[in-house]
Every structure is written in structure tokens, then in C-alpha cells.
Symmetry: C2
Subunit: 330 residues, 2 copies
């Protein structure tokens, strides 16, 4: 796998420079840091901050915009930002209405973001957080659930973002997040692994006719390697596994996200979406909202994930539908 | 290269089903055909139709929307639709203000679209066309310019689309297209070729350390194979070659498009965009508009193209900036 990079210079720097140049009508980047913010931080609502490692583009910079995030703090490839940079971001965007951190459930991300929250609170700032753990993959040995934060995170960005703009307080947003997140379930599959990049090695190999269920968004291995299957059969596996995470009553109405992992063409995502739709039709699950594209990628992984969000409250659908100018969502 | 497809059924059918299901609030698809239209064809403006083979997603279905196309007619993978289907599309969307066809400059596309225009005119309909030929690649033997219609086509969709909504007549739109198209220049590069799909074979091989300048959007070979280079050096080659297509005076202000060919991650496009920006800065070329992402792909080609549009008329920038809900543009 060839890579269009430069031998000198930091990947994070060049990536954020390119992204924020492209969208410089909307985004501000503090050169040399991983902090990207809206041009103007709103004064009348709770500030929403997310972030994590680079390599998931358009996440999370792509979700900065009206009715979504106010700021994203990005680390090196697949490495969360430091607590110092997150604290800096919290302080610089603070408007007195409080700040909510949206954290993907990975040990290192939690350590950085929660330490930043602790430091900010010690300075008297109002800060809170929600932890997204939508991944339904399991450890292949122990069958333990992995509960990582993956593509479903963008539903959290969107719904909490719209709710923040609608005037919800920090406590209300946290409560909304805590009601919402258990209803979001994601499962991924890879046909080729992410290439090594930066300091990140390639973590597994797949033969020419193999695929891997349950892989992660940093190139982590999954729970089962199988012979490459048709789009339809993969859709059956993912829909069935996701369905099992809910009671039948919970899953009468859903939002769905077909997410490309960075190295899969839209043609194939569309074919897969068509198969998913037919399965949900048969199951009599009403699809109230749907998205397809590259939302939270694993660098150049040839693969995809499917996310279901069981709609417990009609407001969630309204929030999903509120327009935003965030470039990753559109 | 593995493919997420199904062994039975037509790829075009499943692709268009998936796309139009995802955007069924905006698009109508006539099942079994390649014709996709806006839910409501506007009654008060010239109708804009484009199309071509599948495999270029989000083109062209993704450019149906407010201030862009009204209809896209899609053929099999990398094969234009038949003149019969194009004629059907012209007739079904006809509103009395005339219809403009936006055609990419390939022999087969021209044959289908111009025959459809002829048939429609014979029925008394007002139809005209523009031919996009932005590719600056050359034949490696003869050095003859190829002049294919490639990624710059989406600038034509956007500018003519906004001009049509602004009330331009069919003649005015054709004249605008003919002034605009010579100012659009594109050059592509591939790091890995498009995989074979449907009836389309793989057309060239690249070694692990090779790249190919001047490739086409149907997996066609380019004009020079080189050892894989850094993003910066590739940017220098593309910017230099494109610059040579203009007089210095023409190129004081430009719109740029960094287009992924379907199998390249946004991280790499962003790094490349950063390099392009620095070169244009040095050249003192003012960038009045910029876009980055997968706009007109060559199935899953790992590669990209760079498009320059020399701005002769400030209105072109205004038209580029007019909002649209077309899902491929946003």
C-alpha cells in the first residue's frame, strides 16, 4: 500500500493545515497544536468538545460546525491529544455555560480527557463528559465485549450538538447522552487492514480471500476471520449481531449509519446499504434516519461498519435532522 | 483487491437502489433504469442533465439537487447510458424551458448523448449541450492531448446549475459553459489502479514502488510511470503541468479541486492540499474557491486529481458558492 505523505514534517501538522486551509471560512487552527475550533465560539450555549487521534478523518475536525461540535482536539495518528492540550482547548473556548467532553471509550483517550476535566474543574470551570462505547465486537478468546467508542460517536456529536444549540444545560446534555449512548450499537468488518502509518504498525494480515469481523478503528484485529462473502451475507451477519443487542420493543424504529473505513468506494457502500435496507424491511424495523459515507475512518482500511441507533425519543430524530455546516456531516 | 458486491443481480441496479434509498427524501429513481431525478423538476428554469457510466460515485447522481443537476442518467460500470434512456430522461423532465446536456468528452458518451439530443430535437424539443474536456494528460507515444472529461465536470455542474437557477436561458447557459470549460484543467495520478469490476478489466499494473501520472477515470493508463514520490513532489508535477495550460494573466485567480479517486484516505488528500496551497502561494495565484474530497472517482483507484479553474468572471465564484443540497457536493 502506497502512501501520499511527506518524508519530513509531522503528519498531524500537515493534515490539520490542509483541512483547515480547505475550510478556513469556518475553522480556526492554532498552528503547532491539535486544537481546531469554530471561527466564533457561541456565547449562549454549552460548549461541545471532542477529539482523539488523527487517522479517522473526517472525524473529529469535520464535525465542528453549527449544531455540532465547537472544538476538536487531535493527537498524533491513533493517539489521543495530551491532557494539557485538551485543558487549553477547554479554557480557550470557555463561555461560562459549561463544557461537555465527548470521549470515545479507549483507555488512553479516557486518561487524557478525564485528566483535563479534573484540571479544568480545579480551576473552577464547569466541565462534564459522556463516554461513547458503541462497539459490539468481542474478544475472540474471552467473548468479553470490547465496548470501544467507534462510528456511533458521530450520532452523539450530532444529537448533543443540536440539543446544545436548542438551549439544553450541561446537566441536561449529559443526561441526554447517557440515555442515548446505550441505544447506539456498531459492528465493523475489514477486507484489508489499515496500512502502517507514523508510529503505528500494521496489526494483522488477511489473505487474498479473507475478511475480518469486529475489527477496530485503529487497525485492531477482530473476533473472527472468514472467507470473503457477498455484501448480502455480510449485511446479514452485521444486522443480526446488532439486533441481538436490543429487546424487540427497543428496536421498532432506528437510525442507521453505513460508515466507510477510508479505503472502500461509495459504490460498494451503496450496494451494502441496499442489502441492509432489505433486511430491516423484513425485520419490520422502521428506519427513521439514515446516513452513508466516510464518517469515522480507520485510515485507509478497506471495510465498513454498520451502526444502529434505537430511537427511544422522537426528539433524537429531530436533532439528527437539524442542518449543520460541519463538513464531515453534510 | 476484495470487493463488497453480490454475485447475482446487476451492479447498477443495486448501486442506484442503495443511493436513492439513502437520499429518498430528495431523489426519485425509475427502478430498472439508469434515470435518477429530483423529486420535483422545477418548472421555471432550464433543465440540466448529465450522466455517464457508474463507478464514478458520487458522480453524477450526487450532483442532483437545488442549484445543480435536475437529472442524471447512469449506464453500466464505465459505460454511458443508451441514447434511448437519455431521450426518455429528456422527455420526462421537459418543462418547456429547454434542456442542457453536460457531457464528458469520451467517444461513447458523445455518441449516446448527441444521438439522444438529435432524437429529442426531431420531436420538437429544445435541447443543447456542452462538452467537458478538462483532462491535460497526453498520449505517451504521440504527446497528443487526451482532452477527456474528468473531475472538472463537477465545477461545470455547479456553475451552470447555479446559473440555471438564476434564470439564464438555454443559449446563455451554453455560452457560459463554452467560456468556462476551456478555463478548467485537470491532471490525475494513481498509486494503484482501479480493480476489475463488472465487465471492466484491470488495464495496467504498478509495482510496489511505482506511480502513474495522467491516468484516466476508467482505469486507463497514464503518460509516465515513476518511482513513488512524496506528496510535495507530486504536487509540484501537477501544479506545474496545469499552470502551463494557461497564460500568466489568465491564472491570477483560481478555484481548485483536490479530488480523491475513490481509494485514497482524506488524511492523504489533506496533506496534498497543504502542499498545493504552498505552491500556489509561491506562484502568487489567488485561490478564490477550494474543494477537497471524493467528487468524481475511478471506482477504487488509489490516487487523486488536481483541477484548476482560472476565474475570468467573478460570477463564476459566486455560482460556486451558491448552496446546494446535492449530496455529492456538500
Amino acid at each position: 500500500m502506497k502512501q501520499l505523505i511527506n518524508s519530513s514534517g509531522h503528519i498531524r501538522q500537515q493534515l490539520l493545515a490542509g483541512l483547515t486551509y480547505t475550510y478556513n471560512d469556518k475553522l480556526d487552527w492554532q498552528t503547532g497544536t491539535g486544537i481546531v475550533t469554530k471561527k466564533l465560539i457561541p456565547e449562549n450555549k454549552v460548549v461541545l468538545i471532542s477529539g482523539g487521534g488523527c487517522g479517522h478523518e473526517p472525524a473529529h475536525v469535520g464535525y465542528i460546525g453549527e449544531n455540532m461540535l465547537d472544538c476538536a482536539v487531535m493527537g498524533a495518528i491513533f493517539e489521543p491529544p495530551t491532557s494539557i492540550e485538551i485543558l487549553q482547548a477547554i479554557e480557550q473556548t470557555y463561555n461560562g455555560h459549561g463544557t461537555l467532553l465527548i470521549i470515545k471509550n479507549f483507555e488512553k483517550d479516557l486518561a487524557s480527557f478525564l485528566e483535563a476535566e479534573r484540571l479544568a474543574k480545579a480551576k473552577g470551570l464547569l466541565v462534564s463528559h459522556v463516554i461513547v462505547d458503541d462497539d459490539c465486537s468481542i474478544e475472540s478468546g474471552t467473548f468479553e465485549k470490547r465496548r470501544r467508542g467507534v462510528a456511533g460517536t458521530v450520532f452523539v456529536h450530532k444529537i448533543l450538538g443540536a440539543a446544545a444549540s436548542a438551549g439544553n444545560s450541561l446537566d441536561e446534555l449529559q443526561a441526554l447522552g447517557e440515555a442515548l449512548i446505550p441505544m447506539i450499537k456498531t459492528l465493523g468488518v475489514a477486507f484489508s487492514p489499515a496500512s502502517p502509518i507514523g508510529l503505528v504498525p500494521q496489526q494483522y494480515e488477511l489473505a487474498e480471500d479473507e475478511m475480518y469481523f469486529g475489527i477496530g478503528i485503529h487497525g485492531e484485529p477482530g473476533y473472527r476471520i472468514e472467507t470473503m462473502q457477498s455484501s448480502e451475507r455480510i449485511a446479514i451477519e452485521l444486522v443480526n449481531k446488532l439486533k441481538q443487542q436490543y429487546t424487540r420493543k427497543e428496536l421498532t424504529r432506528a437510525a442507521i449509519l453505513v460508515n466507510g473505513l477510508g479505503g472502500i468506494p461509495l459504490l460498494e457502500l451503496s450496494i451494502f446499504m441496499n442489502d441492509v435496507q432489505q433486511l430491516l424491511d423484513i425485520e419490520d424495523i422502521e428506519v427513521g434516519y439514515k446516513r452513508m459515507g466516510n464518517f469515522l475512518t480507520a485510515y485507509n482500511t478497506n471495510g465498513l461498519s454498520l451502526t444502529l441507533l434505537a430511537i427511544k425519543d422522537h426528539k433524537w430524530l429531530d436533532y439528527l435532522s437539524v442542518p449543520t455546516d460541519a463538513f464531515g456531516w453534510r
